[in-house]
């Protein structure tokens, strides 16, 4: 399994007063060794339901690997209200959205983002501790890289590839079938697992692979509903071991992945609401 740290070369920017070579990660503004997730494909796509309300959209990302992919559904063509996230099926160069609606012959719009994270490539990173308190942002210090044709003095963070006022979720691990000591033989199942770091609940995503009619491989998102296949069995308290069972049967291929992401290295706000 690839393990990308410690990284001895790259970019590190420390907070004022700290030595980037020796300070803990939570005193860094940015480190290129952090497995921060980046957006490699970002498009709005649309499709029209058939007479039964079935929507099928095939899009092309052309990244050449199986990217972690998410899509947000808009309520209508104005694209002014998003109604939540779905997980398209993924292959090396395409994605597939399949949804069922009550409305036939209706056009639906989605924003699709493919992250620069190959779900078929095993990785593992150390769980880095966050700071115990947030440090105030200093606009006169840090790093920023503007997108092509955008002004580096823009105050709109969307104009930047990287900006020290912003932080990203990071990868904890990608666990694949390669973690199994023996390959899953035809007709059999195997189980891959991920154990959360101490007292931390990560973002968990899971996928299992299937064979397309053209022989290519694609991955399907595994929900946590026990009766589904694929399904990810998330530990009930969120802090133990989660498992994904992989089949080698029919079009189901003996490949699967559990992807664990973590929060960025700053402290969240907290709000308590009573209804």
């Amino acid at each position: 399994m690839a393990n990308a740290q410690p990284q001895t070369s790259g970019i590190k920017i420390a907070q004022p007063g700290w030595d980037a070579r020796t300070c803990p990660d939570y005193q860094l503004i940015f480190s290129s060794s952090w497995p921060s997730i980046a957006i490699a494909y970002d498009q709005v796509v649309s499709g029209t339901t058939d007479a039964f309300g079935t929507l099928t959209i095939t899009g092309t990302h052309n990244l050449g690997f199986y990217p972690l992919t998410m899509a947000w559904r808009f309520s209508d063509s104005t694209q002014t209200l998003q109604q939540g996230r779905v997980f398209p099926n993924i292959d090396k160069n395409k994605f597939y959205i399949k949804q069922y609606f009550l409305n036939a012959n209706t056009t639906y719009y989605f924003n699709v983002k493919c992250y620069n994270l190959d779900i078929s490539y095993p990785q593992s990173y150390t769980y880095l501790q966050s700071a115990s308190f947030n440090t105030a942002y200093d606009a006169s210090y840090g790093i920023k890289v503007a997108k092509s044709k955008k002004n580096v003095y823009s105050t709109d963070l969307r104009d930047f590839v990287l900006h020290s006022r912003a932080a990203s979720p990071q990868v904890l691990a990608v666990i694949t079938e390669q973690s199994l000591s023996t390959p899953i033989t035809s007709g059999n199942t195997g189980t891959i697992s991920f154990t959360n770091p101490q007292n931390y609940v990560p973002w968990l995503f899971a996928y299992a692979a299937f064979k397309n009619t053209d022989g290519s491989t694609y991955y399907i998102w595994a929900p946590p509903w026990q009766q589904a296949y694929p399904a990810v069995n998330i530990n009930v308290d969120g802090k133990g071991t989660s498992t994904l069972t992989i089949l080698n049967l029919g079009t189901a291929l003996p490949y699967g992945s559990i992807i664990a992401l973590r929060d960025p290295l700053f402290i969240s706000a907290y709000k308590r609401i009573t209804y």
Partner: protein, 171 residues
């Protein structure tokens, strides 16, 4: 520094040459903007705990009033002038009865299950939407006058929220 396609900067994982790195082996590439949470926007990354002391409305269960009834239970201004991308991770207590029987969920099918009868579809669901101003949390109830009432009084929803700087325009 301004990035452009012909002034590319790339950093690869250790053990991988920059020239040959691809996919996850690339830790920084000026072609790929990071997913960004604004550290100066207090609602960009927050944990929200919603406790139900009042029961959201339920349909009568007499056809055609079987739902879903949709009740706004919380909203907050996200601070942007566009529709942002969002992630939510919800912990519900008490744990939903089988077949859900987990207490951590992310949306992947448009809703989070609070209590559900899988066979009939009756139950209570949480949905979250966002427009150009706010993020909205709704409880939706479906009831058929046969299954137990989908009551959630006493439930606590702990929701980890990301509201990204990144919009959904695809540009």
């Amino acid at each position: 520094m301004a990035a452009s396609d012909d002034s590319l900067m790339q950093v690869s994982q250790i053990g991988t040459t920059v020239k040959n790195a691809a996919g996850s082996q690339v830790t920084f590439n000026t072609k790929y903007p990071f997913a960004k949470l604004d550290k100066t926007n207090s609602v960009s990354f927050q944990n929200i705990s919603i406790q139900f002391y009042t029961e959201p409305p339920v349909p009568s269960g007499t056809y055609p009033d079987v739902g879903p009834t949709t009740t706004l239970v919380y909203q907050f201004a996200h601070g942007y002038t566009y529709v942002p991308s969002t992630w939510f991770l919800m912990q519900v207590t008490p744990t939903s009865p089988p077949p859900i029987s987990i207490n951590y969920q992310q949306e992947g099918t448009g809703a989070y299950f609070l209590i559900v009868n899988e066979a009939t579809g009756t139950g209570a669901y949480l949905t979250v939407t966002a427009d150009q101003t706010n993020v909205y949390f709704y409880v939706n109830k479906i009831y058929n006058n046969v299954d137990p009432l989908p009551n959630i009084i006493g439930y606590v929803l702990n929701i980890r929220c990301y509201v990204f700087v990144d919009d959904l325009s695809g540009k």
